[in-house]
């Protein structure tokens, strides 16, 4: 077995937290993790938020974010223990032997400097290359990464290029000093689905062609399956399972890994068409003070007790459609019929029943709940407001709803800050249900959650639909979610519905170009999928 380039032995990382009004607490972020990366190989680090992925990633250059201490074990890079290196040695090593690509390239580039100056900065400051050599290398890397006009690309400023291009420029920055190891920290997570895989393909190509070793950090198993040779599954700072990519995906041994692998396997039979509860007819809308239609002639129907999934990438008008239906943005043209009544365009003109029967659940459960109200108040308010229940009767109803969302006793007097991410979203669902609505608009309700938690929320929503016969208008960019819960699908692109119908029809070829792009952009849990899909594409992504 060849000598590993980087090896963690029994790595232990700690931090101190300062809860208000209590004594400081010591937290163990990473505990007893041992793993190695060989020259030219890619190790994928996977796990949910708080698993310690990024912390381990940064430890590969002996760095701990604010207050994080590398307290134990050995971090061996090129044969020496860098955990105990002095600052001067670390300065020499960072940006030379190890480089880093962060999640948000937009936040990492200096907006006041040209891309070229930033891409070559470390190579020049470390004295590895002269300015001219570095610029030539950067242009080569731009070409390798498939950036447009590689010769002049570096002359642009960060705001003049798209998010996907910026992420590739950052990869070029990391590769420019010819490092031994690059740390990729969720490099595609913040990008649109359709852009994500092109950046992923570019990164993979660059890794293969330069022969650099890499740590690839992500929460998406399907993404890491495309680039990694080995995968380390982490949970709560501890190692769950380590193996080759093939083994982890096709033959996971630990229960947690099995759950991760099978996470998108909800089966949902499509319901038959029926008379609609919600009809959106020829709706066109624009925001005040703009000259641009965000929605163009949108027509969709939704039957009672069924789910309409609205799919598209950011900027396609999905959320604007929700704002129009709820009355927050009156449309310039078109009509919305709900439960047999024509809805007033503006919120002010709607009756209490209109408001009650049309509820909404948000993407960020954190900001959707008043942090100064208890769960009991949050769920109780619609009950009091719409049905006039008070005191014990209200409390009983709140408790029933908490049972319905599988949270049980003991939560009614808690504040949102005392709940986990999944529990917060459940409380938001309960608040919507409390109004006994006919329709709930779900705006990306699972996209901020970890895969297993998101899975739980989707199952809950399906169960509640079966019980309460409520219809969902489900806004998402994630095709896997759509497959799991939709009866009907509307694919949106630049404010228009480009494909619409029953789920089985929409997801059956022949596709239009955009639907094809969107469908082919969802990473599949299969090694070699990335190459196939890039080869078979009909159109380029809009954000590219």
């Amino acid at each position: 077995m060849p000598e590993p380039l980087l090896e963690f032995t029994d790595l232990r990382i700690e931090a101190t937290s300062y809860p208000p009004g209590e004594a400081p607490k010591n937290l163990v972020l990473v505990d007893g993790v041992s793993v190695g990366v060989e020259k030219g190989k890619v190790l994928g680090l996977i796990g949910e938020s708080g698993a310690g992925k990024s912390t381990i990633g940064l430890a590969a250059m002996a760095f701990g974010r604010g207050g994080v201490r590398l307290t134990g074990g050995v971090i061996s890079l090129n044969g020496r223990d860098i955990r105990v290196s002095d600052p001067a040695a670390l300065r020499a090593l960072r940006g030379r032997e190890v480089t880093y690509v962060s999640q948000s390239a937009a936040a990492s580039f200096n907006p006041a400097k040209r891309l070229m100056d930033q891409v070559i900065e470390t190579s020049v400051s470390h004295g590895l290359l002269t300015k001219a050599e570095a610029e030539a290398r950067a242009v080569d890397l731009f070409r390798q990464l498939g950036l447009p006009n590689p010769d002049s690309f570096g002359q642009r400023y960060p705001h003049q290029v798209s998010g996907g291009q910026l992420q590739r420029a950052m990869t070029a920055m990391a590769l420019c000093p010819k490092p031994d190891l690059v740390i990729f920290d969720e490099p595609t997570t913040a990008l649109d689905v359709t852009t994500q895989i092109e950046v992923l393909a570019a990164i993979k190509k660059a890794i293969v062609e330069t022969g650099v070793a890499a740590l690839y950090i992500t929460h998406d198993l399907a993404v890491v399956a495309q680039v990694a040779d080995h995968i380390l599954v982490l949970r709560g700072g501890k190692k769950v399972e380590y193996g080759t990519t093939q083994q982890i995906i096709n033959d996971p041994r630990e229960g947690y890994t099995k759950a991760l692998v099978s996470v998108r396997s909800i089966e949902h039979a499509e319901k038959v068409q029926a008379a609609p509860v919600l009809s959106v007819a020829n709706v066109t809308a624009r925001y005040r003070g703009t000259q641009f239609d965000v929605l163009k002639n949108v027509t969709v129907d939704l039957a009672p007790g069924q789910t309409l999934a609205v799919v598209g990438e950011s900027g396609s008008g999905k959320s604007t459609l929700a704002r129009v239906i709820t009355g927050l943005l009156p449309p310039t043209q078109g009509r919305i019929t709900f439960a047999g009544r024509t809805l007033s365009a503006a919120l002010e003109g709607r009756s209490k029943d209109d408001l009650r029967e049309l509820q909404m659940i948000y993407q960020m459960a954190d900001t959707a709940m008043n942090p100064r109200q208890t769960v009991g108040t949050i769920i109780g308010r619609p009950i009091e407001f719409y049905f006039g229940l008070k005191g014990e009767a209200k409390r009983k109803r709140v408790q029933d709803l908490l049972d319905q969302i599988e949270m049980g006793k003991g939560y009614i007097d808690r504040y949102p800050a005392e709940l986990s991410g999944g529990q917060k979203q459940r409380v938001c669902i309960a608040r919507a249900l409390a109004a006994q609505p006919k329709l709930i608009i779900c705006d990306e309700v699972t996209s901020a959650l970890d895969p297993l938690v998101a899975d739980g929320i989707l199952k809950l929503l399906l169960n509640l639909q079966a019980e309460a016969k409520v219809a969902y208008l489900f806004i998402t960019h994630d095709i896997a979610t759509v497959r799991a819960i939709a009866d009907r699908i509307a694919v949106m692109f630049k404010g228009q519905v480009v494909r619409y119908g029953q789920k089985s029809d929409v997801l059956t070829p022949p596709f239009d170009d955009y639907t094809d792009l969107l469908l082919s952009s969802v990473p599949e849990l299969r090694v070699g999928w990335l190459e196939e899909v890039i080869a078979g594409r009909k159109m380029d992504s809009a954000g590219n």
Binding site: P20, G21, T326, G327, L328, L347, R350, K352, L355, R356, Q359, M360, Y362, M364, T367, A368, M369, N370, P371, R372, Q373, R381, P382, F385, Y415, P416, A417, E418, R431, A435
Partner: protein, 271 residues
């Protein structure tokens, strides 16, 4: 939970001032306006802080003066906060032309130095405590309006405020139940600051002769009465000046502590 030393000091001093103010009639050793000693006597066992320009006991007058100064400052700060915060929140929630009109009006008032506005108004209106409180309170409310509007703007875009609007909640629910609890901590800290500005403002007005009128005592007026003594090396004018400074510092220590504490409460704003 352990209190930092500055907070203990601030709470102790502030409550002493309040205690002296509330029980002034019982605690003051001499009446407010009778000459009980010589002119500008130095501090002694009989007159702890000496006597003033016409031989009245400074310590007693300081206690009575504190009562009036603190009462007027407190009343005008409360007035400033209730009006300023209400309209500030309303401007943030309503937006549009309502916000524009209110904000531009406030800009207009703030563009003229408050002292000048106050001097003009007070020289026209009859001089009594009610008028004084109204003038100071309303002038100060423009500052509170600015702050609460800014704070509420941040909160008004939160999804839970949108959720309340979609539920069909009235404006008052949105302001008092959704926004106010989340805006409280910066407002409380600002209250401490504004209270002190009110104390200084009253003292300034009294010093200029347009504030609290004799024979009532107040700290600014006492500085004015005794300022000539400074030339002769008499400490009389320093005593009320020190009292103003001590009150300002102690209230601010408390406000600092409240701010640092509430922002880190459960679900509090900020870190």
């Amino acid at each position: 939970m352990r209190l930092p030393f500055s907070a203990i000091l601030g709470i102790f001093l502030t409550s002493s001032f309040l205690f002296l103010a509330v029980f002034a009639q019982l605690l003051a050793p001499y009446p407010i306006d009778s000459a009980v000693g010589g002119v500008w006597e130095a501090p002694s066992a009989t007159h702890w802080l000496g006597t003033d320009t016409i031989g009245r006991d400074i310590f007693s007058r300081l206690i009575y003066g504190g009562q009036i100064t603190i009462f007027v400052a407190l009343a005008s700060s409360i007035l400033a906060f209730s009006t300023g915060a209400f309209f500030g929140f309303m401007a943030a929630v309503k937006g549009g032309w309502v916000d524009q009109i209110m904000s531009r009006f406030v800009d207009l008032v703030m563009a003229i130095p408050s002292l000048i506005v106050a001097l003009v108004i007070l020289s026209v209106l009859p001089l009594n405590l009610t008028v004084l409180i109204l003038v100071i309170g309303l002038l100060d409310s423009t500052r509170v309006f600015r702050l609460s509007r800014a704070v509420a703007m941040d909160i008004a875009v939160m999804d839970y405020v949108e959720a309340a609007k979609l539920r069909g909640e009235k404006q008052t629910w949105v302001i008092f139940r959704e926004i106010l609890p989340n805006a409280l901590s910066p407002l409380v800290a600002e209250f401490g600051l504004r209270f002190i500005f009110a104390v200084l403002f009253i003292s300034t007005l009294s010093f200029l002769g347009l504030g609290i009128q004799p024979p009532l005592a107040d700290w600014g007026g006492m500085v004015k009465e005794n300022k000539d003594g400074l030339i002769y090396g008499k400490s009389a004018a320093l005593m009320p000046a020190l009292a103003i400074a001590a009150l300002a510092i102690s209230v601010n220590l408390v406000a600092d502590w409240v701010l640092s504490r509430t922002t880190s409460l459960k679900g509090g704003r900020g870190a």
